[in-house]
Point group: none
Chain length 220, copies 4
DNA sequence: TATGAATGAGAGTTCATTCAT
DNA sequence: TATGAATGAACTCTCATTCAT
């Protein structure tokens, strides 16, 4: 089992996706909704178009989802936790220290994993990002997940390396923001802005990691 | 005249905003539209709400703007060039070399300028970013401005410093993306994600610039 | 056996309610339907709410009743005959003359009986009255029962007393309408308009009867 | 000027109907709505049918009335005060004593006036009565108007005659209920139950008044 | 017999747009 | 130029009814 597969497996255990309970029609509705929401935006999408694309009657949508917003949220809300799943690992630090020879290798594995995840769920993530500003419920979840979980985990790690004198003297939030921005910037360039360009993903990931590490490493 | 004022003046000359021609009602319509679009998103906003907020009749909007989309674009489209105005300077390089003692100082002046600009036009920029995915016209403009102008200008500068051995050996697009991501990440954190936190903007800007420069500087 | 019980027994014999044939689920459906129809009105009630309240599946209702209207009518239609049952007695006159010392006593017994009946089936009677204007079938039944049976019976009695010089000289329909209005007015006040006030029912009934008899009695 | 005209004039002054402000289309909408609501009941009526009957677009209805219920209430609610207008006269007692030779004559004038009013607004009154049970707002208005105004006025008059020994010793509410029931019973018979029968309205009114007065007069 | 998912017609309502004033 | 009443298509959502299980 490769390291990537291993990471993926851990994630699956964490989030326990129970798509099993969905009926055939529900899956078709969700697929159609993702398609249409991603293309036109939530507000500009019509339930009739979703129904048509899903091959069901419009009423069927409302049998499974009380309102159109309900449909959106039940699609998009679980995405948030899946998106940041690897960062809320309980044994994150152990994995980092034991399973990977260098921090570069660890970050590379993580980045590849998330990049593949993003590639797989591109449209859903688009919808999520588009709708966060307008859906208070999503904002709450965002704060809960990112703010409380991911942030504290990262702060821990940063302090760990800082205390060893390996990281530049700077507030943890700034370092986290910087690192995350660089990675997210890569993702957005790759998938949103220039999806049709030829990309040497591997090299771009490695370069970005190097730039980040250069940036935050303490100078001798 | 301070350096900031000087930059601002140059920008004004470049973009030549002709708000002078707008009637009183038009200005009210635009202000109301920005307000409503930013709050609810373009698709979920109604022209009647805009009219009401602007204190004009519904018909008046359509006297000045053929369609709702027309209203959106005439608000948002000019923003793109204003947003990237300083980066398309003709005498960018001269300014950089002659007016500022170090590159840090130059980047700092630039960042402060854009941060203040973003603060002033926050809602408009929000709308712009929200609607780019759905408005082909905006996408074209984005590519035209960013792709052709900003990118080439930066590539020039990067090559200049590379040839002097001061910048790490890496493709210019990657370096640009990395630098821009770090700065934009700061802006989004400041204005979108944590607008209500207390911010030491100056320090955050200087830190971010330091991290970027650390990242891209050639190691001795 | 009290006179009230005796009257009740006669009524039961007349109308022969065959609720025995109803299954458990049917009874629950009817109860739920009465509840919901009375609360929201027939047209504003949904079969799904009835099904939910009855604890059965939506389809089950339509297994027993072809349509929603069918459900309404099979609930409400038998009520009409039950409501006017005592007035269509075959031996009405004999009872009146033999079993009760005075006409006041007879009317009092009758009123108490109907009042208790109305109290017991309040919601059903509400539905019946609400729906008569919109259900031609109910209108027919109303005319058949009231018009043909009750009216002729009363006309007979009135003529009987008129011929004895005990009742004022006035057309029987007017006298019937007057008497019925006074009693029905009492019922509606009691149950519909002021159901929550404290009522001395006995006294109100006796007063109303006295007023009616005062009104229709021939003056010496 | 006849006594009837005089009464009508007083009423007009009291209720101050300002139908003048209604546009042509609004009047058509109201007329159509009254027609359809009366025929099918509020809940079973569709706005599209009303629009069609009024000869306007469906959207036009919602420009003037926020919701379907709004349409109902703005039609029906003003009816309540108009319906009971003559009974809330400030100088009711003076009129009764000065302008009419006998109380019979006064009641007769009043009854004729209300009968003509009911005839003119038959459908509206039907709708009002049908919807009172389901519209809390109407119930409130009913209690406010009938309970507080009409009732107290009548109680006053009853006490006045009681003290002169002309009315039977009985609670005022019972006497009012009895009298109102007899009159309302006549109206309902006339307009709702047997609208198609030939009616000698004058005689029926006079008979009913006589029966009421017989009922409530103190016996020598 | 009982279920409940599925239907699709039609409900009330919104809205960008038009046009007579 | 500015208005706002009017439009009617399109929207989200409800509902009585059907039917495979």
């Amino acid at each position: 089992m490769s390291q990537q597969d291993q990471i993926e497996q851990w994630i699956q255990e964490i989030i326990k996706i129970d798509e099993a309970k969905l009926t055939d029609k529900q899956i078709k509705i969700i697929q159609a909704a993702v398609e249409v929401f991603a293309e036109k935006g939530y507000a500009a999408s019509s339930t009739s178009e979703i129904a048509q694309k899903a091959g069901v009657a419009e009423g069927t949508i409302f049998r499974h989802y009380k309102t159109k917003k309900d449909l959106l949220l039940s699609i998009v809300s679980p995405m948030m936790s899946r998106l940041i799943a690897p960062f809320v690992w309980n044994d994150f630090k152990e994995v980092l220290e034991s399973d990977y020879p260098t921090i570069e290798e660890f970050l590379y594995a993580l980045a590849v994993n998330r990049l593949n995840f993003a590639r797989k769920h591109l449209k859903l993530i688009k919808i999520l990002l588009q709708e966060i500003p307008f859906q208070p419920l999503l904002q709450e979840e965002f704060k809960k997940h990112i703010g409380n979980k991911v942030f504290h985990r990262f702060a821990e790690i940063v302090e760990h390396f800082k205390s060893k004198g390996q990281i530049i003297e700077m507030p943890a939030p700034s370092l986290l923001r910087f690192s995350a921005s660089a990675m997210i910037g890569l993702f957005i360039s790759r998938f949103v802005i220039f999806p049709d360009q030829p990309w040497d993903e591997d090299k771009e990931i490695r370069d970005t990691i190097q730039l980040i590490l250069n940036g935050i490493s303490a100078k001798p």
